[in-house]
Symmetry: C2
Subunit: 178 residues, 2 copies
């Protein structure tokens, strides 16, 4: 988490609120957080000399705290990026775990799970495709990684849906009928 904030601030100076909005939009596609975690973390990072801040006044009273990365912060970010990836964690997915308890294909729950999962993955796929479209049209430069992970996610959703439909089709008739 710390490094995500650091990475975002490394791109350009940012306020806590700006970062909050990023988590609610593009960063949120891959990682989620909210302001009550962001603000304290930024304060901790400042105390650790990874970032520095200055205050800008909007209007006459409203204060906006802008954070910049420090040299130390850049070093820390670079060494995190170079660190090898950790072990793959188990998925902890609700669909998976619930299905583990379905011992028989005839169980009507199997059908229900497939239907529900197809719906939520269709929604997600549509959303991701729209995001890719937006990003492509914006024609921003230097967002290789962002495009890449979006394409990865879209492909994963396609594959997931294909698998779901295949297995759904393989269910015994007794459970597909009404």
């Amino acid at each position: 988490m710390k490094y995500i904030l650091l990475g975002l601030i490394a791109q350009r100076e940012r306020s806590g609120y700006e970062i909050k909005k990023l988590f609610a939009s593009e960063v949120g596609d891959f990682w989620y957080s909210n302001h009550s975690q962001i603000y304290p973390e930024l304060l901790r990072m400042e105390r650790a000399y990874l970032i520095s801040s200055y205050v800008e006044t909007v209007g006459t009273k409203l204060e906006k705290k802008l954070y910049c990365i420090t040299a130390q912060g850049r070093t820390a970010l670079a060494s995190w990026m170079k660190e090898p990836l950790g072990d793959l964690a188990p998925s902890r997915d609700e669909f998976t775990m619930k299905f583990y308890f379905v011992s028989d294909a005839k169980d009507p729950l199997a059908q229900q799970f497939f239907e529900e999962d197809i719906v939520r993955h269709k929604i997600r796929l549509r959303y991701l495709e729209e995001r890719l479209q937006t990003l492509t049209l914006e024609g921003r430069t230097s967002h290789y990684g962002h495009l890449l992970i979006l394409r990865c996610a879209i492909r994963r959703e396609h594959e997931r849906l294909a698998w779901l439909k295949e297995e759904y089709g393989n269910l015994p008739k007794e459970s597909r009928m009404r």
Copy 2:
């Protein structure tokens, strides 16, 4: 988490230690936990009348606490199973988030990330295939769901590796050379 424990105890009566071992083996492929979370959770569930326990003595002194599901517990489990699946949570994957900060395909980090991710997914794929083999050979009955989610995971790993290799091959030459 609570419902996973409940599901495992619903299959047959089990001790905390037995459940711990399940998390270290087959359940651990999809969800992880350890004994310091399991034991207190079992105590809480017993206090909530979802499970009941009795003590069995092994040898002369060693005590083993066996938990059974109660009628209330079965109801709670069934209603959890029927509940619709929650929203898809963002992946929170290290590879994804690090790549978000790679703005240019020429960055040598891109190459590094692909290589590392290929390695860890190959390892995982091999492991999952071995698990499926074992499970198939065991020839247990009524494990439709378990087989299904294993096949799903294997297919996901295959697809992931295919994507990784494809994108790795698309990297510009400057960064692939030594």
